[in-house]
Every structure is written in structure tokens, then in C-alpha cells.
């Protein structure tokens, strides 16, 4: 019984099993239903764009870390998640080189200029998407129908009279690759919730606010919930851990704020869709929200009289 080889480290001496790696790959698993739906609806284009975006994201991550003299941490899966997300966030006909460029911008300007994983204030995939929309407005708003790829408009542009609810729910409508099938998104979202990776407050606050506001404004709330990329963003992007508040109340505030901005853009803005900007703007407000929504600390404000 010698002493020499005992390990000494501060408590706690046991740790939870979960790691960043496991969380990121849970998100990938949670995206599988959407990937399958996108492939079913939009065929080879879905595979082409998601694979290109993912490869571009992962390669860019490695290059950025190399340039910054950081350890290469591709196995953490965060770059892959960004790649898949931006790949699912573009129209099916987007040219390959634009997809790659969007992904490169997402990882560089969205993530590594701020210091890499954990330090980015804005959702990298949405930064990439915003870049693409501003730079290549036409190809980024060129929509085609599922299966036969006929040029059309999105439900949000057409209005609620032009689309049937079942089409909106199952995704047989025009739109970005991942956003059309509410059914697939819900399956993925439920998985992520039970896996403990999705906090319910942001998606519920976001969707609930849109539901309430559109009802008050006399619009079709169900249509606004299912059309466009709201549901996809609520489950996979607004809930991104890095760029959203850490306090419980702050997460509600984030969701509600994004919902308000979205409705304002959709109803009064010149764009048909406002999901990207609603989340990016709330990302910017996140440090402030954290500051304003600190929980009451145990025992503070309690009088010292027995």
C-alpha cells in the first residue's frame, strides 16, 4: 500500500456522462427526421446541399483552428451541426458554390472571428444564411415545388387561402429544404426534448407569441405557425445554447422577443419571412437579457429575524 500514485484533484470526483460531443451528435440525430423528409421531398438537391455545406463547415473549422493555433476539435461536432443547419436553410436549387461560400462565412464570420465554439454571439448558421440572402437574393428566394421542382412561391408569399393545412403539416410545399415538413420537425424536437438537449422555454415562448399575436391581429395563427421556417428555427436554431440566455426567465424573454420581431417583420416588413432576423436580433440582446433576468439567489432578501 504505497502512497505515491494516488490521484488528487478537487471535488466533485464524479461527473455526469454527457459531453459536448454527445450533445452535438444528439442534435444531429434530432435533425435526421428533417433530413429524411428533405431528401424525400426535394431528392438529390437535399443531399447535395447538406453534404456540401457540412463538408465546407468542417473543413473551414479545421482551417480556422489551424490558423489560430488552436487544437483541432472536429470531433466535438459543433461545425457539423452548423453545416447541416445551414444546408437545410436554403432553397433546393441553390448553386453548389454559393452553398459552400455560405458555410465558410458561417464558420469564419459567424464563429471563429469571435473565438470559436462558445464565444460567438450570433447563431453561425443564421449568420451564413443572412449573408447568402443579402448577397444572392435571387437564388436565395427562388422556390420550387417538391417532387417535380416547378417554380412557385412559398406559402407565406401566397397567403393562407392558397395552401391546405395537410400540405403545410407534411411539407409538400415550397420552401427551404428543412423547413417545410412540420411533422418531421416535431419528431426531431420531441426527441431532443426527451434527450435533455432542447430547453422547452424558447420554442414555446417563440411559437406561443406568434400564435397569440397573429390571433389578436385577426390572422390565421395556424398558418403562421406552419408556414415558413418558424417551426424549424424554433426547434433547431432559436434554441441554440451558445447564443441564447442562460437564465430560465431570460429564455422565455428570448422566445417572446423573437416572436414579436417575427410577427412585426411578417406583417409590416418588406420581407415575407423574418425568422432569421428575429433570432439574430435576439442573439444581440442576449447579454442584456442575462443581466436583467438574474434569478433571486437563495436567501437573498430574506430577513434575519428569526
Amino acid at each position: 500500500m504505497e502512497n505515491s500514485r494516488l490521484i488528487v484533484s478537487p471535488s466533485p470526483h464524479v461527473r455526469d456522462e454527457d459531453t459536448i460531443h454527445k450533445i452535438m451528435f444528439a442534435v444531429i440525430i434530432g435533425l435526421l427526421p428533417v433530413l429524411i423528409a428533405a431528401t424525400y421531398l426535394f431528392g438529390f438537391n437535399a443531399i447535395r446541399l447538406v453534404v456540401l455545406a457540412s463538408i465546407a463547415a468542417v473543413v473551414t473549422e479545421a482551417l480556422c483552428q489551424k490558423i489560430r493555433n488552436q487544437p483541432i476539435t472536429l470531433w466535438d461536432g459543433s461545425a457539423l451541426v452548423t453545416g447541416v443547419l445551414i444546408g437545410l436553410n436554403v432553397p433546393p436549387t441553390l448553386p453548389s458554390w454559393m452553398m459552400i461560400l455560405g458555410s465558410v462565412v458561417a464558420i469564419t464570420l459567424g464563429k471563429h472571428v469571435f473565438g470559436g465554439l462558445g464565444y460567438n454571439p450570433f447563431n453561425p448558421a443564421l449568420v451564413g444564411r443572412a449573408f447568402l440572402v443579402v448577397s444572392f437574393t435571387l437564388p436565395m428566394t427562388y422556390w420550387t415545388t417538391p417532387f417535380d421542382a416547378v417554380t412557385t412561391a412559398t406559402p407565406l408569399e401566397l397567403g393562407p387561402q392558397a395552401v391546405a393545412y395537410p400540405d403545410l403539416f407534411f411539407g409538400t410545399i415550397a420552401g427551404s429544404l428543412g423547413e417545410t415538413s412540420a411533422f418531421a420537425i416535431l419528431i426531431g424536437g420531441i426527441y431532443l426534448f426527451y434527450r435533455g438537449v432542447l430547453d422547452y422555454r424558447i420554442p414555446l415562448g417563440y411559437l406561443g407569441t406568434v400564435l397569440v399575436l397573429t390571433t389578436i391581429l385577426g390572422l390565421d395563427p395556424l398558418f403562421h405557425l406552419l408556414a415558413g421556417s418558424l417551426l424549424f428555427a424554433a426547434v433547431y436554431m432559436a434554441s441554440d445554447m451558445v447564443t441564447t440566455p442562460v437564465t430560465p426567465v431570460g429564455r422565455w424573454a428570448f422566445g417572446i422577443g423573437a416572436g414579436i420581431i417575427l410577427v412585426v417583420i411578417r406583417i409590416w416588413g418588406s420581407l415575407p419571412e423574418g425568422v432569421t432576423y428575429s433570432i439574430l436580433l435576439m442573439n444581440a440582446a442576449t447579454p442584456l437579457i442575462n443581466r436583467w433576468t438574474r434569478p433571486r439567489i437563495y436567501g437573498q432578501g430574506v430577513s434575519k429575524n428569526a
Binding site: I7, V14, G116, V246
Partner: protein, 440 residues
């Protein structure tokens, strides 16, 4: 039925089944005993003996004139061979009395009472003080001082903490299973000592036998056994108080300010032994457990027995050990020297194998906020860590660093394996040092 509990907390793997059925055995006192003169929170005591003195079992060998301190007694009879610094669980060397055991266990005079509940509150407190009893849950705060709150504060509840929320530990569980009558009597004595009208005994629901036995012996309706949700850190003093009474201990304050005093199961048992049998605190129940130990069990161990002797008695190591921890896996401290003695606050000797002793390189924080969700004090560990890393002590103070109870839930849950608690401790330390400097 929804069981009582508190905000936050985690559910680590409990691993209590290793020793939960193992009844308490007496570990024979070893040849050499090292009685540390710092076994409690507060000032170390002065040695009353010197090299060559012979001592009796239970004889007072260390006391102090400081208010916050606790008497120290010899746990065997024999001869003092040295009074010198020896390894201590804190990692430092602390002045200790080394006694060569003569194997006779000759006791010193003990004044017993057949019906100790007739003692006056002051007599009870005096006996507890004389016996050197401290909180046996691990914090080791002198019990007699805790029973004597300042400002004549009114105490409504005495709480006996039987939650034993740390994984692996089963010492309190076994005491409640095997010696419920003495634990209950101790609770009554402690309640009388502090003038509490009611006694609440909180036990986590994963100890059904303890709950049953304690209920069988509780008798009077002034004692209530409350079943609590199994969740760490249910046994945290503040968490216990809030779960049982709905009250909160004020920030920067003490439980008596909420009209509550909390004592541990082992402390209650020691109180019975002190008041009824006149016995000083010279042994305690220790859980020897973990995959690194051959025959895990619950031992009643004389204070001053080295970890090495205790581990050898439990069959020794299964393989080369990874960590040897004094206390539980969440709050215990890893030891580097097996010659450290079992002390009043040593609830467990936990031996991890090499595989159990995983070491992690921290990854970047992804702001998942799991640390925020599990913090029982409702702190933002993610912010506090950042402030501490950047030496922003004022901000750390403002964000409640001093309200941290150091339970380690944040570090336990962190998927990036960051050392959140470690940084928190640094911030607390810096804040205390700065305050001391200010007040001179």
C-alpha cells in the same frame, strides 16, 4: 405523493447498494493512534499531554480557550509517544498527539445518567461540549455552539439530517436502521438543549428500512419523520431546511435566523452517548466503500486510526487505487497520504479504481446553462466562473459567490467538464481575503 425537496440538484449514480446492507462492525483499535488537534471548524486545540504521558480511553487530551473550538480525547489507553505535526485530511500537516495503544482500553471515569432527558438544557450543552461533539455530517462545526445561538433566538424546529445524499455513503443509514432508539433520544436531547418545540427528521426515500425503524421509535407526535426526494444535495443544511419547513436561511446568515437548527444523525447518536453514558466522542461510523476496496463495509472506527489500517481491515485495495477520498464523491477531498487519520468529520473512506478516477480537460463553455438549472442556490455558475477567471472579484461578489454552498452540482453536470466549483472557491477565497485586508 409528491415528496418534499428543494430547487435544483442532480441525480448522480448512488452506488449505496455496495454497503447499504452491511451492518456496523467494530474495527479493533490499531497499535498506533494519531489524534489531530484540529478536527473541527474553529481554532485548533492545545495539547494537554506530552511525550511519555500515559492516557486513558476517553481522557481529555486537548482543549482551547477559544469560543469556537471542540475538545479532543484519546480514543485508546496507552502512552503518548509524540506531539508533532502529522498528515491531515486537509492536505497540510497539523499538530497531533500520537499514542501507542496498550490494548487495554482502560476507560477514564464516565458519569452516566439513566434518564438523560431529565437533564437541564444547560447540562445537556455542557455534556456535549465536554464530549467534544461536532457536526458529524462532515462540516465538523462544534455542536454545543450551534445549540446556543446568539440574541436568545427562538428555535422552532430541530431538524435531524438523515438524508445522506452523497452517493456511496451508508453510515447514517445504518445508524438509523440499527440504533434508531438512540438516534431519537439524541434528537430529543438536542431539541431540549436548544429549546426547540418540534423535531423533524428528514430521510431520503431511498432508505426505506431506516424510515420504518425511525418511525417505529419516534413515538411522540412532537417528532415527525419526513420522507424526502432522493436528490443531491438534499442534505445541504439550507436545502434541508427549505424542503422541511419552506423557510430560507438568509443570505450571509445562519439557520437559527430562520428559527431552525440542523444536526446530523451521527451527531444525535454521539449526543445520546455523551449525555446517557458520559462517553466522549472517540469513535464514529465510517463507510469504507468504492470499487477500489476489496470488502466494502460500515465500520465503527476509533478516531485517529489511519486510513491505511482501515483499508487493510476491509481487505485492502482490489487493484492499484486511483483516488482515496475522505467523504463522499461530490464533496469529499482526495487524499495523497494513506497515513491521514480518521477524524470526527470523516464520514467515509471511498476508494476509486483507476477507471473511476476519470480526469478531464475542460472544453469551451457552450452556455448550455445546465449549471444554472441545477444550482441549489440559484446562482449563475457560468457567469461566476468567467468573473473568477478574469479576477473580477467585485462582480463575483455581486453575482452571489458567497452564497455558493460548494455542493459541486455545477461541475458535476457540466458537459464541457469545466472546473466551475474550483473557480468559485477561488473567488470566495479572494473576496474573504480582500474583506480581511479592508477591516485590517
Amino acid at each position: 405523493m409528491k415528496k418534499k425537496t428543494f430547487r435544483g440538484g442532480v441525480h448522480p449514480e448512488y452506488a449505496k447498494d455496495i454497503t447499504a446492507e452491511k451492518s456496523i462492525q467494530d474495527l479493533p483499535a490499531p497499535e498506533m493512534i494519531v489524534i489531530s488537534l484540529q478536527q473541527h471548524i474553529g481554532a485548533p486545540v492545545d495539547s494537554l499531554v506530552k511525550k511519555g504521558d500515559s492516557v486513558l480511553m476517553g481522557q481529555l487530551i486537548g482543549n482551547s480557550s477559544y469560543a469556537v473550538s471542540a475538545n479532543v480525547h484519546s480514543s485508546v489507553s496507552g502512552t503518548v509517544v509524540a506531539v508533532e505535526p502529522r498528515p491531515h485530511i486537509s492536505g497540510r500537516s497539523v499538530i497531533s498527539v500520537v499514542i501507542k495503544n496498550d490494548g487495554q482500553d482502560n476507560p477514564c471515569e464516565m458519569i452516566s445518567h439513566s434518564d438523560p432527558i431529565q437533564l437541564s438544557p444547560q447540562e445537556i450543552k455542557d455534556k456535549i461540549k465536554a464530549a467534544g461533539i461536532v457536526g458529524l455530517g462532515g462540516a465538523a462545526f462544534p455542536t454545543s455552539i450551534k445549540l446556543d445561538p446568539p440574541d436568545q433566538a427562538n428555535i422552532d424546529y430541530l431538524i435531524i439530517n438523515g438524508s445522506e445524499c452523497e452517493p456511496y455513503l451508508t453510515a447514517d443509514d445504518r445508524m438509523m436502521v440499527e440504533e434508531p432508539a438512540d438516534v431519537i433520544l439524541g434528537a430529543k436531547l438536542l431539541a431540549k438543549g436548544c429549546g426547540a418545540e418540534r423535531i423533524l427528521i428528514g430521510i431520503e426515500e431511498n432508505k426505506p428500512e431506516a424510515i420504518r425503524n425511525m418511525r417505529d421509535h419516534a413515538g411522540s407526535n412532537a417528532i415527525e419523520i419526513v420522507v424526502l426526494d432522493t436528490k443531491y444535495p438534499q442534505g445541504g443544511e439550507k436545502q434541508m431546511i427549505t424542503a422541511l419547513t419552506g423557510r430560507e436561511v438568509p443570505s450571509n446568515g445562519l439557520p437559527y435566523q430562520a428559527g431552525v437548527i440542523v444536526q446530523n444523525v451521527g451527531t444525535a447518536l454521539a449526543t445520546t452517548q455523551a449525555c446517557r453514558d458520559g462517553r466522549a466522542l472517540i469513535d464514529r461510523v465510517v463507510t469504507l466503500t468504492g470499487a477500489g476496496i476489496k470488502e466494502p463495509r460500515n465500520y465503527r472506527i476509533r478516531l485517529g486510526t489511519s486510513f491505511r489500517v482501515a483499508i487493510e481491515a476491509a481487505g485492502g485495495f482490489t487493484a492499484e487505487p486511483g483516488k482515496v477520498i475522505a467523504g463522499g464523491p461530490l464533496m469529499g477531498s482526495a487524499q495523497f497520504d494513506l497515513d491521514v487519520p480518521v477524524m470526527k468529520g470523516t464520514s467515509s473512506i471511498l476508494v476509486f479504481t483507476k477507471e473511476d478516477s476519470k480526469q478531464f480537460d475542460p472544453m469551451p463553455c457552450i452556455k448550455c446553462a445546465r449549471c444554472v438549472d441545477v444550482c441549489p442556490a440559484s446562482l449563475l455558475p457560468v457567469r461566476l466562473e468567467a468573473y473568477s477567471m478574469n479576477a473580477m472579484w467585485d462582480e463575483a461578489l455581486e453575482y452571489g459567490a458567497m452564497d455558493c454552498i460548494e455542493c459541486g452540482c455545477c461541475t458535476y453536470i457540466c458537459p464541457s467538464k469545466r472546473f466551475l466549483l474550483h473557480w468559485m472557491r477561488l473567488a470566495k477565497n479572494e473576496i474573504i481575503v480582500a474583506k480581511r485586508r479592508q477591516t485590517g
